[in-house]
């Protein structure tokens, strides 16, 4: 079922499906979800958290009995991906928080994903074991060595079925290549290489080689006093293995072609929207900083998220975006307090749906927004425990900006800025979304009529 074709946002109703995580108070900071990602088929959903742990959910097979209830996501595997480390030279702690998870396309029975914290990228293999050998000669069923004198016959061990066991093993550890903090990883469409980006540099890796990487972008100035911008996100083109983009804290995007030179410091394309100088304020640069950049599935467009808007750019037009969507423009009159409480530096992500017709991003008060690119309609929904009954339809929310507040609306001053939805994911081909609300993961599906 291809979403977007024949479904307008007004016709699409979203229902609560599942919520993962504890509802009791006192969950620790380690439980805060820091990344969410579906794999390429949508069968698996991975989350990473501040405590360095990865939890993978698997969609159960749809049962014939419950036709109207599409497969639910249940825990498939969980493991500790990264642990806290210490940089002795600087007396600084290296956080174990998982910044990003990216899946590799499946090539055999096992699943592979990349997970990264600030400094180290790891390749994890997740595989199933449902058989085990039994009938060893030299050890008994518990693994204890048998007394050799009691062995009188020779037998051949056989494979017997066992309860499904899912194992996660670190297959590669790509360390010590980043001076600054890794903000992005992206698997190349050649499936042989991937890139990792920190604030000032981007490195290209081969999956098989862990002790070397190529530096492909370096924007560190000779004199750090001259530093004016940092890299905020980077991604490979979905089909062209030579092309990638990276965004900056100044609101610009650079597209680079690795065929032009080994070091891609000179961009091939430069995307920047001209700014009206009379609109400039102290906050202008901060709110223009791009927190996420994502290619469309088609590879023809890129989407960027800055503090107040989501923009869609056509790769063929560098001088301005083709679409701009206001996420929460009412915050413009709150910038002073948002600067004081650091919220202005929050890094929201954005996602495309499978057909590139709808885009989604998070906001505060556990709100998230969807924009239909074709109809230009948008909707605000909320991930909350109150709406957590099975198949309960999510009611659109509205923020009241000033003057009279209607019954269902919420005023800007009542928004809870500690409840931020930074990470969301959209199933690659179906209308299933995963929304991370601090330490809870919500899964919503569109209503099956």
């Amino acid at each position: 079922m291809l979403p977007g074709i024949g479904t307008l946002i007004q016709d699409m109703l979203w229902c609560f499906c599942q919520m993962k995580g504890t509802i009791e108070f006192g969950s620790t900071e380690a439980d805060i979800i820091s990344t969410v990602e579906f794999n390429h088929t949508g069968e698996l959903l991975a989350t990473g958290d501040k405590g360095g742990r990865v939890v993978i959910f698997q969609r159960e097979q749809e049962s014939k009995n419950q036709v109207h209830r599409r497969g639910e996501y249940n825990v498939y595997s969980t493991f500790q991906s990264h642990e806290p480390e210490f940089d002795y030279l600087k007396s600084l702690e290296i956080e174990e928080k998982i910044n990003k998870i990216r899946w590799l396309p499946q090539q055999n029975a096992a699943y592979f994903l990349l997970s990264t914290n600030d400094k180290t990228v790891k390749l994890w293999k997740v595989s199933e074991r449902d058989k085990r050998p039994e009938g060893y000669n030299l050890k008994d069923e518990e693994g204890r060595l048998r007394d050799p004198s009691t062995i009188t016959t020779l037998r051949v061990p056989v494979l017997r079925p066992m309860d499904l066991m899912v194992e996660a093993t670190p297959r590669r550890v790509f360390a010590n290549a980043h001076t600054y903090h890794i903000n992005s990883i992206s698997v190349n469409s050649d499936y042989e290489t991937y890139m990792s980006a920190d604030d000032l540099r981007i490195n290209l890796w081969n999956f098989e080689i862990t002790n070397q990487s190529f530096n492909i972008v370096d924007i560190k100035p000779a004199n750090m006093e001259e530093l004016t911008e940092v890299i905020t996100a980077a991604e490979f083109h979905p089909h062209h293995c030579n092309t990638f983009v990276y965004s900056s804290s100044k609101g610009t995007i650079r597209l680079c072609d690795m065929r032009t030179s080994a070091l891609c410091d000179r961009h091939t394309k430069f995307f920047e929207e001209p700014e009206d100088p009379s609109n400039r304020s102290f906050f202008s640069e901060i709110i223009s900083s791009i927190s996420d950049v994502k290619f469309s599935h088609s590879g023809r467009y890129i989407m960027t998220r800055d503090y107040l808007t989501v923009k869609v750019w056509d790769l063929n037009m560098e001088n301005r975006p083709i679409e701009t969507y206001q996420v929460h423009d009412y915050l413009r009159s709150k910038l002073c307090s948002l600067y004081e409480n650091d919220c202005i530096f929050d890094k929201f992500e954005c996602v495309w749906n499978g057909s590139d017709s709808v885009i989604m991003t998070g906001s505060y008060n556990n709100f998230f927004r969807m924009f239909d690119r074709n109809t230009k309609r948008d909707v605000t929904l909320e991930a909350s425990r109150e709406n957590s009954k099975p198949r309960a339809i999510l009611k659109p929310r509205k923020v009241c900006v000033g003057g009279k507040r209607r019954k269902d609306e919420i005023s800007v001053d009542s928004l809870d800025f500690s409840k931020k939805i930074l990470h969301t994911a959209w199933h690659p081909s179906e209308n299933i979304i995963a929304v991370a609300a601090t330490n809870n993961l919500y899964i919503f599906q569109d209503k099956v009529n």
């Binding site: 969980t78 007396s91 940092v230 901060i286 109809t375 900006v401």
Partner: protein, 121 residues
């Protein structure tokens, strides 16, 4: 179910702007916010979003107490006060020495993620 998309017009006044009698008519909400900020923090740098922010970004991370650094800094400072730790911008390694008072709390031990525990539906 759907909402009409608001026109993008940053200079349009919001309801709150109208209530603030000190602001001129037609002023950008951003400018008003900037004025508020400058009133609270007069020493805020003239260069917006410049080196300071970026340096802060690059140096993210919890600094720990290092007795070697601490004692060397004490020896250097002699009678002067040791700079106190704060939410602040001393970012050059070696200049900013956390003091024993500023030791962070011990991190809790690693346990299984609650997402992997019983699900709530």
């Amino acid at each position: 179910m759907s909402q009409k998309q608001e026109e993008e017009n940053p200079s349009e006044e919001t309801g709150e702007e109208k209530q603030d009698t000190q602001e001129k008519e037609g002023i950008l909400p951003e400018r008003a916010e900037e004025a508020k900020l400058k009133a609270k923090y007069p020493s805020l740098g003239q260069k917006p979003g410049g080196s300071d922010f970026l340096m802060k970004r690059l140096q993210k991370g919890q600094k720990y107490f290092d007795s070697g650094d601490y004692n060397m800094a004490k020896a250097k400072m002699k009678n002067k006060q040791l700079p106190s730790a704060g939410p602040d911008k001393n970012l050059v390694t070696g200049d900013h020495i956390p003091t024993p008072q500023d030791l962070p709390q011990r991190k809790s031990s690693l346990v299984t993620s609650k997402l992997a525990g019983g699900q709530v539906e």
